[in-house]
């Protein structure tokens, strides 16, 4: 199935990284293991956003909602039901996908910025419900001490679990963006009007793309709970959505792994700078400005451009 998807070079690269990350926990202190798990989770989240943002050209401004819904569904299933945790793992991404479907049905009627605006308002509605519903979601306190199944509860076990699920999700997403569906999704990004003229049902395609992205966002949400052991409403606050968006832009939103790289950079900076100052967002703002001026295609985008010469001409978006 993977034949023709990646070349031998990237394949050995992939194997190398996998081995590196698998043996890493044996050498690193616990904090770094936790730190890497967090990077995987956030990287997966950013990559899932980029499926609709970079490949679909949809201004998905409130992706964190799907992340939060996944995390909350997982946490609530573990706490409020006696079902096997397996069901919680299955239910969480599906719940995210359903929320994605509902929001999508309302939003895809609109295009470009209006799509994003409406999504922010609908997403904030979900956030407000979670924030206020003390009896069910714990309100602004969130839920702490979630009973994670013991098989994945220790830091290094959570690390392995997160790594493997992230890897599988990334591979599946990579297959999707390189499938006919993904190709046509990119065509829609470049030119929705023309896509319609070649017989593509644009709205339906966008809706499906959004549901898929929400699904993977939900997976990232469950992984977050596994790593962190708690959930709180900030997970789906709109400022966090912007942060994910910045990760995509920073890493390079026209590349597959760019968002993952962007997520690693942001998570690292946040952790490191967080030690020295509370005003981490100030640094984030400066990064964003530098990014817009010097690396409009993102870090990875910059390097692919430099070495492959693939995106030679600057592409001017219409409108």
């Amino acid at each position: 199935m993977f034949k023709g998807l990646i070349n031998r070079f990237s394949f050995s690269f992939l194997i190398g990284f996998t081995i590196l990350f698998l043996i890493l926990p044996h050498f690193l202190p616990r904090f770094y293991i936790y730190f890497f798990s967090l990077i995987f989770v956030t990287g997966l989240l950013a990559t899932s956003l980029n499926m609709v943002l970079g490949y679909g050209g949809m201004y998905q401004f409130h992706h964190a909602v799907f992340y939060g819904v996944g995390a909350y569904t997982f946490a609530l299933m573990l706490i409020k039901t006696n079902l096997s945790p397996i069901f919680a793992f299955i239910a969480a991404p599906i719940a995210s996908a359903i929320i994605g479907l509902i929001m999508g049905l309302i939003c895809v009627r609109l295009s470009k910025l209006y799509f994003g605006m409406l999504q922010i308002s609908l997403g904030s509605l979900v956030w407000a419900i979670v924030f206020r519903w003390y009896s069910f979601t714990g309100g602004d306190n969130g839920i702490h001490g979630i009973p994670i199944p013991s098989i994945i509860s220790s830091t290094s076990k959570a690390y392995y679990f997160t790594f493997i699920i992230t890897l599988i999700s990334l591979i599946v997403m990579y297959m999707i963006v390189n499938s006919p569906f993904g190709r046509i999704f990119q065509a829609i990004r470049d030119n929705p009007e023309r896509s319609e003229a070649i017989g593509v049902n644009v709205k339906r395609h966008q809706l499906i793309g959004l549901v898929i992205a929400a699904f993977f966002g939900g997976i990232a949400g469950t992984l977050f709970v596994v790593v962190e052991g708690s959930v709180f409403p900030d997970l789906m606050f709109w400022t966090f959505s912007l942060e994910i968006l910045i990760m995509c832009l920073l890493g390079g939103w026209f590349t597959f792994l760019g968002p993952f790289l962007g997520a690693s950079i942001i998570v690292t900076l946040r952790t490191v700078i967080g030690i020295y100052t509370e005003y981490w967002t100030l640094v984030l703002g400066i990064i964003l400005m530098l990014l817009i001026f010097f690396l409009p295609e993102g870090v990875l985008g910059y390097f692919t451009e430099k070495y492959k010469g693939r995106f030679k001409t600057p592409i001017v978006n219409k409108e």
Binding site: M1, K3, G4, L5, M175, I176, N178, S179, P180, F181, G182, R183, I184, Q186, A187, R189, D190, N191, E193, R194, S195, E196, A197, I198, G199, V200, N201, V202, H205, I208, I212, F254, R310, F311, K312, T313, I315
Partner: protein, 247 residues
């Protein structure tokens, strides 16, 4: 094959197309001519569903297709190549044509098989036919205007249309590129048996290749007929040919 009856469209009170009539028979090359602002592009967009007409009927193979969205009309066998270059900028030339073929083959919801391996033969066939095969791996946004216009036609061909609508296929092209495009149109009509509807400013060219010409002015169809009938029509002479001059 295509039958347009008293089609109407106004934008905020401005009648862009007020009474368009057109008959296209299978296998013909039909030209629509008319001064700037006569409503040619609007007419094409009305036929292909990109605009919704206020009134009138469009029959394609006996079926009224007015009001259908563009993607459905495309599936029925009408492809439009746009006047203003309208391609997928970030995709390669190959991918531009490939997506049209994938869509035609109803593979647009296929999530897991690698697109790299699909529809290669069909895509290359079309690229060879239009002469873009050497540039297959170029990013389409970096092509010259002339090549992009040809790519427009190639994308439209990807849907295996029965009726190909070309909105000013030679606009902005050099004389050499224009004649190449004309050759291409003739070849598509002859070899693939495509019915072609196009609009154009260059009179000589229209009279040279069209079997049948429809003249529009101020949103109205003045006449449809062969080149002699059109040339002799006094209304056309007044409105368009400017009393004998050929341009």
């Amino acid at each position: 094959m295509l039958h347009v009856e008293t089609l109407q469209k106004s934008f905020d009170g401005f009648m862009a197309v007020s009474d368009a009539n057109l008959i296209v028979n299978k296998g013909e090359i039909i030209a629509v001519i008319g001064p700037n602002g006569a409503g040619k592009t609007t007419l094409f967009k009305l036929i292909t569903g990109h605009l919704k007409p206020d009134n009138g009927k469009v029959y394609f193979k006996g079926e009224n297709i007015v009001g259908l969205p563009p993607y459905k009309i495309c599936k029925k066998g009408i492809s439009l190549s746009f006047q203003i270059v309208n391609i997928f900028n970030r995709l390669t030339v190959f991918e531009n044509v490939q997506v049209a073929i994938l869509s035609y083959q109803k593979k647009s919801l296929n999530l897991f098989s690698p697109a790299k391996k699909l529809a290669i033969k069909e895509t290359n066939e079309i690229l060879e036919n239009v002469g873009l095969i050497d540039k297959a791996d170029n990013i389409s946004g970096s092509l010259s205007h002339g090549d992009q216009k040809v790519l427009e036609i190639a994308i439209a061909l990807g849907n295996h249309p029965e009726l190909l609508i070309l909105d000013e296929p030679t606009a902005g092209l050099s004389p050499e590129e224009t004649s190449a495009t004309i050759e291409l149109i003739k070849r598509l009509n002859k070899d693939l048996g495509l019915t072609i509807l196009f609009c154009e400013h260059d009179m000589d060219l229209v009279f040279a290749i069209a079997d049948n010409i429809m003249v529009m002015q101020l949103g109205k169809t003045i006449i449809q007929g062969n080149s002699d009938e059109v040339r002799c029509n006094t209304e056309v002479q007044e409105a368009y040919l400017g009393g004998g001059s050929d341009t």
